[in-house]
């Protein structure tokens, strides 16, 4: 397993953990204190920040060549998938309120940074999954 795969695993684990725990916290707070305070549960999304330590935790791969054309290809595919996912999330976030609330409705501005955050999370998650899938499929003989 190379460094990219290790970092991708860290992202997948931390993002999954953050999303599951924040949704659980939201559900518990919703039952106990109700809606606006229940949104505090999403503060647990901050767990994702630990993924940033991946660059420090995992040392650079040994050997003369640490990146070649296949690594570049996989990273490019992952970046495209990540960007497409972010585009999809922002697209859905823009279109769904239109169809659900109607064209004359208004939404609070605080949704905008949340949409940005959700798009970023989804993008990083898909980017990491694509890296794992593309490396994983071809590394079974190692």
């Amino acid at each position: 397993m190379n460094r990219s795969q290790k970092i991708a695993w860290l992202f997948v684990i931390t993002i999954s953990l953050a999303v599951v725990s924040s949704l659980a916290a939201f559900a518990i707070l919703y039952i106990k204190v109700g809606i606006p305070k229940a949104f505090a549960g999403f503060a647990l999304l901050g767990i994702v920040g630990f993924a940033g330590f991946g660059q420090m935790i995992f040392p650079k791969d040994k050997g003369k060549i640490i990146c070649d054309e296949r690594d570049t290809f996989i990273n490019r595919q992952a970046a495209i998938a990540g960007f497409a996912t972010a585009f999809l999330v922002v697209g859905l976030a823009c279109m769904l309120p239109f169809f659900i609330l109607g064209p004359q409705a208004t939404i609070a501005v605080w949704w905008l940074p949340n949409i940005f955050g959700a798009a970023g999370l989804a993008s990083f998650f898909v980017h990491s999954v694509v890296i794992l899938v593309l490396y994983g499929r071809s590394n079974k003989n190692e």
Binding site: I65, I66, R70, N141, E142
Partner: protein, 70 residues
């Protein structure tokens, strides 16, 4: 990555060239060992440049090492 239509004889040539290891071939071709493993298993199609480098590592022509399966 989908299974490639490009077949190769890298494994055979490695053994014919004094049991050359995947790491040795990777060093000669200027790629990582993971990439050689993926190419050998037919799970990654190398660029023309890399195919030429691999063929040269064996002292062969690209056609001898790689073949396209119709």
């Amino acid at each position: 990555m989908a299974k490639s239509k490009i077949k190769n004889n890298i494994r055979q040539f490695r053994f014919e060239n004094g049991q050359m290891t995947q790491a040795d071939l990777a060093d000669k071709a200027g790629v990582t060992r993971q990439t050689i493993i993926a190419i050998e298993a037919g799970q990654y199609s190398p660029s023309l440049e890399l195919a030429i480098k691999i063929a040269r590592a064996f002292g062969k022509k690209v056609d001898d090492v790689f073949e396209y399966e119709e």
